[in-house]
Symmetry: C2
Subunit: 183 residues, 2 copies
């Protein structure tokens, strides 16, 4: 951030009075521009013993598989975000169930929230951000081609709980990934 | 938002290619400025059968009581945010427990997350944003002076569950409050 979005003057990074962290502050109009974590919301759409995955048509992780998920928008609830992302990425309608995972990813300032969900019918297709969309039984999950660690962790918990016969809400925190090339 | 925070040119509100919602877009440098919901994180600091509340020294709701809570910052986890806010507002150290409530407040584009927590000692005091801080048993809670509906709802669930002897994770969505003066 270089310019004030309110008045167009240049901003400087300093700690406002009464605050404890540096913020982008406009010396001209006095605006303080806060930057906060973003929420990513997704769904595990279930159809009998299979779940729906999407293969990404966009970066990051083009070509890798993921659950339908994306940035929560203003003016919606987390459950509405899960349904909207599933419609956008898989052209699929779901009945949103319970929140299943909440995963902090602090090194990228994101919180990932994934719901269990019931696919309403088999009328799905790749949305603009997906190359393909499909239903996968547990033994068919492409574990080595899952796009994001939070999604892989959510899927592991999901199949663990399903085998156990009871689902419980899980939270965890992801550390930064090890640098590429380390053992 | 009137000016591009990247180049200082004026922004316009339009739907970018491949998107479905209007965004602030810079015609000069091409930056798209997304605005997303904010996360508010708080704690229910427990000490025996009492919990810690803070009386607000700032707007909104100056003079009303609340749990320690505030906007989550970049680079932290939700649990770290709960501990930091409790330290800032009540100068109190807590051991953060489980997530207890997740409450959507879509008309102000916020998600409120509240943890159960254990107060580590009785060495607390009002922080800069609090007029006073105190421990309250259930019958002492100032129900008519609670600052926010999400906090009142969280406290209701908390005492319900405590009476029942078991706590469970709760989610809900708050609709806009009725206009002042309606029956």
């Amino acid at each position: 951030m270089k310019f004030c979005s309110n008045c167009g003057a240049t901003v400087e990074l300093r700690i406002p009075p009464g605050d404890s962290l540096p913020r982008h502050v406009c010396a001209t109009c006095g605006s303080i521009h806060y930057v906060n974590p973003k929420i990513v919301v997704g769904a595990i759409p279930e159809w009998e013993d299979r779940i729906l995955l999407c293969r990404r048509a966009i970066e990051p992780r083009h070509g890798f598989w993921t659950l339908p998920a994306g940035f929560m928008e203003n003016d919606e609830t987390t459950a509405q975000a899960a349904a909207r992302e599933t419609l956008e990425e898989a052209c699929a309608r779901i009945e949103v169930g319970e929140i299943f995972t909440l995963i902090n990813v602090p090194h990228i300032s994101q919180v990932h929230i994934v719901y269990r969900a019931r696919l309403i019918d088999l009328d799905f297709a790749p949305g603009e951000e997906s190359l393909e969309v499909g239903l996968f039984a547990e033994h068919e999950i492409p574990w080595n081609e899952i796009a994001f660690r939070s999604i892989a962790l959510t899927l592991q918990h999901y199949f663990d709980d399903r085998r156990r016969g009871t689902f419980r809400f899980r939270t965890s925190d992801l550390a930064p990934p090890p640098p590429v090339g380390t053992a």
